[in-house]
């Protein structure tokens, strides 16, 4: 089955991000195709490489990056949600006159159209959040 995953909540605050990761990993292991993982609302905070959790805890951001690398996942952070919450790549930094970037490996910033396109092109849209 072809799936698009939507992650609506930030890391550590809420279990949604963990559940989305575990679901995505399990789906891939079962041979399903992940068309895209789309991060929206506070979910965009899953995409900052500046995250530094305590060493005895899981690193949610690096875990997503590693999964993306292993499976060539398309992980998209919503641009409008990212701008509000300070998730920045080089293009956004230049456009908005910011002095730094923080996007993590494997994530890219793009528009909401990517979510709608994911829903159209997938057999299921699976949403994680409140």
């Amino acid at each position: 089955m072809k799936l698009t995953i939507q992650v609506n909540e930030g890391p550590y605050q809420h279990q949604s991000s963990d559940s989305a990761y575990n679901f995505t990993k399990a789906a891939l292991e079962k041979g399903h195709e992940i068309f895209r993982v789309f991060f929206y609302h506070d979910g965009v905070n899953n995409g900052t490489r500046l995250t530094t959790p305590p060493q005895d805890d899981r690193n949610i951001v690096e875990r997503w990056s590693a999964l993306a690398k292993e499976h060539d996942l398309d992980m998209v952070v919503c641009v409008a949600a990212a701008q509000r919450r300070g998730i920045v790549d080089e293009g956004e930094a230049e456009r908005n006159g910011k002095d730094a970037t923080n996007i993590a490996d494997g994530f890219r910033i793009s528009g909401l159209g990517q979510l709608v396109e994911g829903a159209i092109n997938s057999d299921r849209l699976v949403v994680f959040g409140d």
Partner: protein, 135 residues
Amino acid sequence: MSETKKFMYLNRKAPYGTIYAWESLEVVLIGAAFEQDVSLAFLDDGVFQLTKGQDTKGIGMKNFSPTYAALGDYEVTKIYVEKESLEERGLTIDDLQHLVWEDEDEDWAEKDSIRLVSRSELADVLAEQDVLFNF
């Protein structure tokens, strides 16, 4: 991407306590460009999103409620409101904005966008959908 799917956006939260309502509306507006068969549903505290006379001055937030009146121009013409959710909150349809759309096929006649449905009727509408966006 020629396939048309039945898209429903479920709005379940009050408008200003969290950002879900506004960011849901942003998806609806962007999604309109994809020419899918779109409908919206308002239930639980989501019915407060459509109330008229919203004034956000006191909380310093943008009042985005006028945007709902523009949905007709985006060809979003099916807006379901759950009757029980209104009743449980002491609201009636008269507390909501009067949302309309213009029917091109009937000389741009103005038609109501809001469809008041019971919880069980809404369940049937949900069962017909291909994609549910839950906000």
